[in-house]
Symmetry: C2
Subunit: 189 residues, 2 copies
Amino acid sequence: MFEPILANFAKHIALDQAETAIVLSILKHRKIKKKDALLRAGDVCRSISFVAKGCLRVYLLDAQGDEHISHFAFEDWWAIDTASFYSQTPAFYTIDALEDTEVFQIGYQDLEDLYERVPKFERFFRILAQNGYVIQQRRITSRLSESAEERYEKFKKLHPKLSRRIAQKHIASFLGITPEFLSMLRKKK
Amino acid sequence: MFEPILANFAKHIALDQAETAIVLSILKHRKIKKKDALLRAGDVCRSISFVAKGCLRVYLLDAQGDEHISHFAFEDWWAIDTASFYSQTPAFYTIDALEDTEVFQIGYQDLEDLYERVPKFERFFRILAQNGYVIQQRRITSRLSESAEERYEKFKKLHPKLSRRIAQKHIASFLGITPEFLSMLRKKK
DNA sequence: CGCGACGTTGATTTGCCTCAACGATTGTGG
DNA sequence: CCACAATCGTTGAGGCAAATCAACGTCGCG
């Protein structure tokens, strides 16, 4: 049951048996049904969630009622409203499930305690945050320097499986275009 | 001389005298003249740079020769091509000076050693990366949900001093619009 | 089976870009 | 300290990528 998340930790740090026991003791397992919310904008993001199965989406709901997707979190990814979690303030983003999903969660205080008891996790989450930063930075420059068509082609090449698993309108939202325009791009080829 | 960077460390971690001595011993002080490059795309980013004075810009030079600014680094900010530095691979971004600038640098291996000798720095750079992630995420959703005019208004409100210190064309590039269009927005008011 | 969400298509509109020309400002060598 | 060049910001005409709006087929789910 815990293999996926332990394998994720092992990508960046090596835990001995005692350390493994500590982290397992604070993990909370949770199931989220398709369309149910894990976090609602306005609430405080009290946990960081590792997706063991399924798919979450992190998105902003703007004043016009339009959804703007920040990112998807599939198996082996982490989902969180970073700003809300780290400063324990109300969230801007909403997180909900695109499929029936299972996550492991670590609460805010539990994570702070974990940093004390197993300092290696400072390293783990440092690397995680750095990788996240790189991905976000790429997305910004991609949006600045590429057309919608180029971005869609790159997305398909980078995530060939996701194109089949996620609704078109969500891909459009992620790419920053309308579903209609994405439909037209697809027709062109 | 070292106060600015020590104050920056102190925002997130408390260093004793021995630890302070260690980090000071690996810092390299460097001056960059206006318009000179600190990092060129294609080279490997071998150091992380803390800006003590002046201003750097991190930008992508695309195939058409257009510049797309990822971010500015003023006093008390860090400048780096994250992907290049952390994996020691060729950089996508170029970093150059918009003003005569002074930085403190930490080399890649020195930083890895520092993590070993003073593990608190794992925590410091974890928090730094998290904050960077939040800023990038905000920028993406801002671009997805707001018009150029709204983004410009927010930029002015958020960085009132910068508007006077940076050339308009650089602000335009940062906002993801042309200098001509920014000029038109300014006229409207 | 029937309803609601989804993807598609086409007509029209618009936010922003491109190109070109022209003042204003800044910087630099004489 | 001036003269001149280079860079920068502005303005306007015209164009295009992508949005909006509306209508319609279809598919999956309850």
